[in-house]
Symmetry: C2
Subunit: 339 residues, 2 copies
Amino acid sequence: MTNPTIVEVARLAGVSITTVSRCLNAPDKVGKKTLAKVRKVIHDINFSPNVLAQSFRRGRTNIILVVVHEIGSWLFADILEGIRAVVDGRYSIILTESRPDVTENGTFIDMLVARQVEGVILLCSPLPFSRKLIELAKSKPLPIVIGLEPVSDDLGQFPSVHIDNHQAAYDATQYLIRLGHVEILFVSGPKNSYVTKDRELGFIAAMRDAGLGMDGDRVIHSDLSANGGINSAIEILARPTRPSAIFCANDDVAMGVMSVAAKRGLRVPEDLSVMGFDDTRYAALTNPALSTVLQPARDIGVKAAQKLLQAIERPDDDAPRTEILPHRIVVRDSTALRR
Amino acid sequence: MTNPTIVEVARLAGVSITTVSRCLNAPDKVGKKTLAKVRKVIHDINFSPNVLAQSFRRGRTNIILVVVHEIGSWLFADILEGIRAVVDGRYSIILTESRPDVTENGTFIDMLVARQVEGVILLCSPLPFSRKLIELAKSKPLPIVIGLEPVSDDLGQFPSVHIDNHQAAYDATQYLIRLGHVEILFVSGPKNSYVTKDRELGFIAAMRDAGLGMDGDRVIHSDLSANGGINSAIEILARPTRPSAIFCANDDVAMGVMSVAAKRGLRVPEDLSVMGFDDTRYAALTNPALSTVLQPARDIGVKAAQKLLQAIERPDDDAPRTEILPHRIVVRDSTALRR
DNA sequence: CTGAAAGCGCTTACAG
DNA sequence: CTGAAAGCGCTTACAG
């Protein structure tokens, strides 16, 4: 029982395969009666074109690749939702994580070349990986859009969509300062991360502008996971002086910090204000509910997907390269006036 | 600048395209010197075969489809990690959510047929969707493996991998009963969900076996989201008598319940014990840390992927149909002796 | 508006 | 061990 092909359809409808093909791809170029006849046959024998043959012939796969840091975070899930809303029905999405064990072994890059994805949305661009991608883009044109992250110099050629991370961190820090906090620490991300570097600089700038010195280690680096938050908190609480506020580079880190605080009997926000970043779905559920900085995740996905489709389908249009989306400070219960 | 093809390689190496093809696919059937010569050319001109042509010719895509309820839950992320570990380098994964707006519009099923995915791992099987899938599997052979969920009668023909949800819920309920709780409620999932139905029955069985009546509405249905947990908790706390323990069908619901408890000034576990299900990554981070039932998520992914690959690659082998993985009660700080 | 024909880049019997 | 040739199922100039 082999699938019917357009040859079979043509035979049954008494037309040429060219006409059948046209009925599928450009029905307005076919006579009404012919179209009806062919469509009836297609329906009767439940024909659907072999997409493999179409892809091959057209040289197009209708697949895009989305690179995330880690599947399973709501931030990425929400961005993906936005991407999907834009590309749905036109492109399939293959998702990959940028963790070294996924990308380093080479099979991944091979697949990129091989599978002929038509474009890439990079929601994170760790260095060895992004370099490979850039090389790839040199040898064959590969539309790439950066989302979520600010663009490193290497990637400056590509369009991007993100918030002003520097300003957002500045605003959040300023908010804490206005609550009277002086001893504020920032739990940042990995040292090679461009996003958290921006946030770090925003934090530092706000501190400086408020006349608060940056004596001691006010910036702690973490891996942006809850565990990273836990480790950072343990390190912080082992110091001779305790900060009155900790600003975390994302919500997961903040949750880790709060869980340590709870275990040590520190009350949040009475003894310690904790601020997150991202406003993921769990932020409102923590106890106390987490104050944080909202990133418009779904919008980032939507805009990134739009830019990518434009780059794929109208490569000559000069698209605006960078788009900055608004952020917002979300005040909940984990931050309060300094006691 | 068009990509080189095997014709070009053959020309440069002075062999036939057949030989080039063999060098790629069955190198042991080629003479040593020829192989070396061809490989040198391939390397020199940086040739890589057109995968679109290969797929077309072979009639294989090397793509599998994974259907999840919602991207962005750690449960699914961990399962996916397991799947990926098994299929990596051999198959690409296309991920889709089973939410009605994604699956109902038909384009999704079309894509399923069209994209010629080679197999499906169903991590959730909501009814209208699974029915379509089953019909599809009738008209053309489509390997399907069910993971996470127990198998409904419709899907009984397919292999599956999951825990014994009935027993797991029974165990968790018994644990709460042994803590002295009598007024225990179960916040279940949607009424059409097979997984949570099993857990519901396990809960009821444990209550019965302990001689605790099932008077009143001891089972509340939710959508398995944190918001669902919030709504259920609000409903529960509006009742004339307050339970001393709430067992939730997943961790998200439990987090919702705990957040309401916190807002109402109810202390967990002193005033109310809360138990979750899944042991997702956030379970250990809640305040207090959540007692829950562990599902071996990564293992579920690994086993499901292994079963699928077997079904794809050795369709005649009679694979064991159902595999039950072990669960485990994880006791943390959200459950305590009844006061 | 319609059709005959070439061709996309591979793989795979078949023959030697 | 190697090659000539057919063919996978489409799309697309080209001609009428």
